[in-house]
Symmetry: C2
DNA sequence: GCATCAATTATACGCTTGCATAATTACGAC
DNA sequence: GTCGTAATTATGCAAGCGTATAATTGATGC
C-alpha cells in the first residue's frame, strides 16, 4: 500500500490561471469573499492549494485578476449586441436593454461587484481598475448618446454630453443594482420598460420605439 | 506585584450594545468586513472581546444589528430636511438633493453598504431587512412624486406612479453609488445638478427651480 | 529509454479567527 | 457595611487562514 499520490495533468500557464480566476469568481459569487479561501478555490479548480502560489505570488494578486476579468466580462456582455443595430438610436436602445437584462443583471454578478468594492477602496491598483472600468463604460455610453442626439439633429456641447452620460449611466447602474440585489421586487421585463422610458425622458428621445426594431 | 486586572465601569445594556454596533460600523467602513473582527470591535469599543458574546450570542447577530442601524441612519439622513419644505415639489427636490450630497453620499457609507450586500444574499433575516429598507424608501419617494404631480395638476395612476418611483430611485441610487465609490470623478455640486435635471426630466417637473427655495 | 525541468502535490508553520468558560469586580439593595 | 449578582475581564481552545518549502511527477527533446 503506497501512499497514493494524486495524479495530475500538466496544463499551460494561461489555462491554469484562467481556471483559478474562474473558480475564484464562482466562489465569491456563491459564498461571498469569505468563502473564497485559497483552499476552496483550489478545490473548485480541481487542483491543490500549493499551485495557486505557483501562479500568483499572493492571494490578493489572484483576486485582483479575478476582478479585472469580471469587470471586463460585464462590459463585454453589455455591449455584445449593440454594434449590430443600424441607427445610433437603435444602438443606444440596445445598450440600455442589455444593461438591465440577464445575464448582465444577475444576483451573483452584483454580489461579486459588491464583494470587490471593499478591496477597491483599500488597494490602489484595484481602485485604478475600478475607475478605468467606470470611465470606459461611461465614455462609450456618452459617444452613443451624442451620436443618437446628432442623428436627431441635436448636437449637445461637451458639458451637456458629459452630464447626460452621467445621468443615463446612473439610471442604468441603479436599475442594474436593484434588479440584481432584489430580483423578486420587479416583474419580468419591467426593468426594460422603465430603463427605456427613463433614459428616453432624460435625452428626450423615443427609445422604446427604437428598441423594438 | 498583583497581576493588575483591567478596571471597568458597568453600563446599561442599551449603551453597550449601541457602542458595539457603532464600533462595528466604524471598522467595516474603514477596513471592510475583513477588518471587523471580534477583537478589533472590542478594542474600538474599549471593551474586552468576551463582552461581545455577553450582548450578542453570535457575531452575525451583531453584524445584523449594525446593518439595521446603518440603513436606518441612511434613510433618516436622507429625509432629514424634507418635511420643512412647504410645497410638494420643494420636498421632492430636497430629497433628491440630500440623496446625492454628503453625509449621505460618502465613500465609507457606500463601502459599508457593499460590505453588507454579501451577508444580505446569504442570510434570510438580513435579506428581509434589505428588502424592507428598499421598499420603505421607494414608497416614501413614490408618495412625494405623486404629491408633486398632483400639485402640478397631473395625477398618475398606480402603475405609472410605481414605474416613476422605480426610475427616480434608480437615478438617485446610481448617483449615490458613483459619488461614493468614485468621489474624485465628479465636480463639487455636479451630482446635485445632474440629479435634479434627470429626475425632473423623468417626471417632467422643474426641480431645479424648486431646489433653490 | 533516459535525462531534464517545470508543473504539481504534500506537508507544515505561525497567525488569526470566532467561540466557550471560568475567574473577578463594580454597584445597587437592604 | 456586606452581600448578591449581573457585568466584565481573562484565558484557552479548536479550526481555518495565507504562506512557505520540500518532495514528486508528468511531459518534452534527444
Amino acid at each position: 500500500m503506497t501512499g497514493e499520490r494524486r495524479k495530475f495533468r500538466r496544463e499551460g500557464a494561461d489555462t491554469r490561471r484562467q481556471a483559478l480566476v474562474l473558480a475564484t469568481l464562482d466562489l465569491i459569487a456563491e459564498q461571498g469573499v469569505r468563502g473564497a479561501t485559497v483552499r476552496a478555490i483550489a478545490e473548485r479548480a480541481d487542483v491543490t492549494q500549493g499551485l495557486i502560489r505557483h501562479y500568483f505570488s499572493t492571494k490578493d494578486e489572484l483576486v485582483q485578476e479575478a476582478y479585472l476579468a469580471h469587470m471586463a466580462g460585464l462590459t463585454e456582455q453589455t455591449f455584445a449586441g449593440v454594434a449590430e443595430r443600424e441607427t445610433a438610436l437603435g444602438r443606444l436602445a440596445a445598450l440600455v436593454v442589455a444593461s438591465v437584462t440577464p445575464p448582465v443583471v444577475d444576483s451573483a454578478s452584483v454580489g461579486l461587484w459588491a464583494g470587490f468594492l471593499n478591496h477597491v477602496r483599500q488597494d490602489a491598483r484595484m481602485r485604478a481598475v475600478h475607475a478605468q472600468t467606470y470611465h470606459d463604460f461611461r465614455d462609450r455610453l456618452e459617444r452613443l448618446i451624442v451620436a443618437a442626439l446628432e442623428e436627431a439633429g441635436r448636437g449637445p456641447d461637451a458639458g451637456q454630453a458629459r452630464r447626460l452620460a452621467i445621468a443615463c449611466n446612473a439610471v442604468i447602474d441603479g436599475l442594474w443594482l436593484e434588479g440584481g440585489a432584489l430580483p423578486e421586487a420587479f416583474e419580468p421585463d419591467e426593468l426594460t420598460g422603465i430603463a427605456l422610458t427613463a433614459v428616453g425622458a432624460i435625452l428626450q428621445l423615443d427609445l422604446e420605439e427604437a428598441a423594438k426594431t
